[in-house]
């Protein structure tokens, strides 16, 4: 192996060199420049591990416990079971009602649906398609902006 290994391979060598290919291992072990990089990585990792662990300089429990509401009463198991059943199966029940209500009329009127659009002018179809595309584009832009905002918040200083 004549080329230097990638940064990823160097990091792998530092974390677990048995995962490297024999060629990579022998290159690193015989290359002064790569060994210097490996030594730097080792220094970095050992310094991270040696950083003192932060601890709150106040008693968290003493601060939080007085703010808790009066003791919570345990929920009646029968009510909890009913609630859990409702939470778990509600989307399926909703789908079971909505899907037939939509699919059956569509199936029964399938021949007429074609005529519904056959009479529509090109402009009408264009307006509908453009509005739909605009709405989808608007939603995607909104999601992208939110994502960018969150990323900026992560890098704010």
């Amino acid at each position: 192996m004549t080329e230097h290994p990638s940064e990823q391979e160097l990091q792998q060598f530092v974390s677990d060199n048995s995962l490297c290919t024999p060629a990579t291992r022998s290159h690193i072990e015989g290359c002064e420049s790569c060994l210097a990089q490996v030594a730097s990585y080792r220094l970095v990792l050992s310094a991270i591990r040696q950083q003192p662990k932060p601890a709150f300089d106040f008693d968290v429990a003493a601060l939080v416990l007085p703010q808790l509401e009066s003791p919570r009463t345990a929920e009646d198991p029968a009510i909890a079971r009913a609630r859990s059943f409702k939470d778990r199966f509600f989307p399926f029940l909703l789908a079971a009602v909505v899907l037939p209500l939509t699919a059956i009329p569509l199936y029964l009127l399938r021949k007429n649906i074609f005529f519904l659009f056959a009479d529509a002018s090109g402009i009408f179809i264009y307006v509908i398609a453009a509005a739909t595309l605009f709405f989808i584009g608007f939603k995607i832009t909104g999601m992208y902006r939110t994502y960018q905002k969150q990323l900026k918040a992560l890098n704010y200083y």
Binding site: L43, A47, P54, F58, L65, L68, R72, T73, E75, K149
Partner: protein, 187 residues
């Protein structure tokens, strides 16, 4: 279903809290505050903000505890709430972070850097503090708390591949900074 890594005592403690035992919640706080501190300290620079935030985090945990189904470890679930609360906090602060405060923070950073620049751990400490909060948090959770990629992905709601790639970049960044500092000093 109880997650395999979950301590049986966690289930017992959660049941006690749901049954009205506030002291049991105190025990949950004691068991998890070290991990929460790692996240909060790495993401929030201001000490006063941290104090408010940690209260907010544990109050959220208390109110949401009823909905915790043990699909993850209790500590991982609490860490997720801590991480998300920090993100929301950062987002809010970004909107009101005045330039003067930013300048003061920069000056303090330079002063700290000058104090530490003579020793290796000082250099690295400064460089770690310079990383974006999410990188700092990932580095700490992986290398100090020794959490798995999967646990970190759960806490940060990032895909495992992204966690690995952020960690790779953070380590490379630190290594490059270290080498460039040494080169400067050699010159």
């Amino acid at each position: 279903m109880n997650q395999p890594g979950n301590h049986p005592k966690d289930k017992y403690l959660v049941d006690l809290v749901l049954g009205g035992d506030k002291q049991a919640f105190g025990t949950i706080i004691k068991n998890t505050e070290a991990l929460v501190a790692q996240i909060v300290y790495k993401m929030i620079p201001n000490a006063e903000d941290r104090k408010d935030l940690v209260q907010e985090i544990y109050l959220k945990v208390f109110h949401k505890l009823e909905g915790f189904k043990f699909h993850a470890k209790l500590s991982t679930w609490i860490a997720t709430i801590a991480y998300n609360s920090c993100l929301t906090w950062l987002e809010k602060k970004k909107l009101v972070f005045p330039d003067e405060l930013r300048e003061i923070a920069d000056l303090q950073e330079v002063a700290v850097e000058r104090l530490h620049q003579n020793d290796l751990s000082g250099i690295l400490k400064t460089e770690i503090e310079r990383l974006p909060p999410v990188y700092r948090t990932l580095i700490t959770l992986y290398h100090q708390e020794e959490l798995s990629y999967q646990e970190i992905a759960e806490i940060t709601c990032l895909p495992e591949g992204t966690v690995k790639s952020y960690l790779f970049r953070a380590r490379k960044n630190l290594k490059d900074s270290l080498l460039s500092k040494y080169k400067k000093e050699a010159l």
